[in-house]
């Protein structure tokens, strides 16, 4: 048949699937997805919803950081549980009273405070936080920067790092936080860096590196970018959009 010979003359179809992890070339029946693709999507959605509601293995993280010279301290936000955390971002940005007292009793005046927050993905922290912290601290020490004890924050939003950085009197805060899970990546870590962290700092004063995970931005590349930003902030005494205009 004519149609068959036409098909045979076609060049091999371009395989877009080798070029991106996006759900390309799924095929279709009319406007509908093939059944298998439709159900694979539903399964991924069910898994992502579960990731939001699971809890970081903080004990394991402490163990994996035990040999670092800086130590760790555990805090929690004013959002007492997951359900409050999801509905009340304002509480996730504030320290609980207990945690405020705890940080108030700590030595002040380091160059860098590192805060690890669960955010919306516990698996991002479980998988990526320890290697990233080690890679960042190694580089900061080469530049003779003083690092405060690592703050492990549960039910935390990004801006909790302002309260922590302020309490510790740090020049710069580095917040490593679980990004909200997507369908294909439920373990993505984001890093937000702020010069002169204080409660009420606008988001435009932060610089962000996102999508740190296996298959995304590598730990080593992320650590390089984090430390480059820290050094630029110390040099220019600013961060966020203002830093971008001066780099």
């Amino acid at each position: 048949m004519a149609e068959d010979s036409l098909t045979r003359r076609e060049p091999p179809a371009i395989d877009l699937r080798r070029m991106t992890e996006a759900r390309v070339q799924l095929g279709r029946f009319g406007a509908g997805l093939p059944t298998r693709a439709a159900q694979a999507f539903l399964l991924d959605h069910a898994r992502a919803r579960e990731a939001v509601w699971s809890v970081v293995d903080w004990d394991r993280l402490v163990e994996r950081l035990a040999d670092l010279p800086v130590g760790t301290v555990a805090v929690e936000s004013a959002a007492h549980d997951r359900s409050t955390f999801v509905r009340r971002p304002d509480l996730g940005r504030k320290l609980s009273d207990r945690s405020s007292h705890c940080l108030a009793g700590m030595p002040r005046g380091s160059d860098v405070a590192i805060v690890v927050g669960d955010g919306l993905s516990a698996s991002a922290i479980d998988l990526n936080a320890a290697p990233l912290i080690r890679a960042v601290i190694g580089r900061l020490q080469l530049h003779r920067l003083a690092v405060a004890p690592i703050v492990l924050a549960s039910q935390a939003r990004v801006a909790l790092g302002d309260a922590v950085g302020e309490a510790l009197g740090a020049r710069i805060s580095i917040v490593m936080i679980g990004e909200r899970p997507g369908l294909s990546a439920a373990d993505s870590l984001g890093v937000y860096i702020t010069y002169g962290p204080k409660t009420g700092t606008p988001d435009s004063r932060r610089n962000c590196i996102s999508n740190i995970r296996r298959g995304g931005l590598s730990i080593e590349a992320a650590a390089e970018s984090v430390v480059a930003l820290v050094l630029d902030m110390i040099r220019t005494e600013t961060s966020g959009v203002a830093l971008l205009t001066r780099r």
Binding site: T20, A22, A51, V52, P181
Partner: protein
Amino acid sequence: MPYRTTIERTTFSFADLKELMAKATPERSGDQLAGISAEGPVERLAAQMALADLPLKAFLAEELIPSDDDEVSRLIAAQHDPAAFAAVSSFTVGQFREWLLRPEVQQPQLEALTFGLTPEMVAAVSKIMRLQDLIAVAAKRQVVTRFRSTIGLKGRLSTRNQPNHPTDDSLGIAASAIDGLLMGTGDAVIGVNPATDTVSDYVRIVELLDELRSRLAIPTQTCCLGHVSTAIKAIAAEAPVDLVFQSIAGSQKANDGFGVDLAMLREAHEAVRGLKRAPAGANLMYFETGQGAALSADAHFGVDQQTMEARAYAIAREFQPLLVNTVVGFIGPEYLFNGKQIIRAGLEDHFCGKLLGLPMGVDVCYTNHADADQEDMDALLTLLCAAGVNFVITVPGADDVMLNYQSLAHHDAEYCRETLGRPPAPEFERWLGEIGLTDASGRLLDSPLKLTNDIAALRLLEARHG
């Protein structure tokens, strides 16, 4: 000035206009988070009744956010055209709703009224309209914009092909864009949200999109949705920038949180115009908005999130944009808790944007921590098509692998063409036929020979393919 309603001998009192507006707003988690919502359905209805009796003129007498402190309020006051307002100036909010629904009120009347209305008036009337009202009125108001394609014509639906990639890999972006093109999407724009924020990455992305567009002779526009300050630098370096993008919100303080103000937007608008890439009179700006943006920056001043959203539209319409869309379910369940709230907000934003003269599109979307799913998106998309939405956003398989949320799939655009009879922009529709992607009846075909050959010949793909 306090406002009052009495229902069965119980008097409900609202201290000022912004409290009345907040309590009249249909239930949503963001207003509850802000602590400004009605306590329950009866108080909400009392507020809606008081609002319905309020003269539209009241919004000219009482500002929700004082002009002295806020450049968005100043812009709203400056935009107001008393002559255009005369057609409805004697109405209460309730009478205004009834007037909007009258069959003799059509495109000419609504278009003439555009700058007679303030965002607050439009937000107010939307609060006492049900979904069917929002759809019926929006469907009467076309806002048509042009660049290489003509967007917003009656009975058509355009799409933004959103080929995001987690690390902005050139090949990954191209592959995703091509996947969308093969499904017939991208006539509004092919637009990437960058994961990176440097000028060099911005330039690389717009160059790659421009090569794809020009080599395949696609009648559309391309855009890298980086920060406006990055766009200004890329334009200075003579990068091929079709559209300047920026996220905006409804107060000066909220925009400060985005690192942007009106002066910076004016500078960018001038700069992109200077590139002369579009025919004279073309629309060159692209804005995204979304309920909750102001509250999340603690910059809402006690005003409800839907009214703050409408205020952002005053900024957008100052720049005659090609495209504006609300990213309705992107911001999360703390602002719109579930599918029901997302669906209503999407239709409100579309209605308010259209009445204020914007070429309104919607990113029909949700996140994994919201109580929503793809079925809610099916409902919203279908309702938006009934309302005549200018464009929606589509990604491969509804999964945005960079921003980690679910939007529509390219497949959904085909659903709108097949089932709802909504073809894309006429120039793009012609291109689809010429390239062999659609047959004579406009039905999508798979892997047409000519387009596949053209794609295979792209320098970009040659590097690593075959």
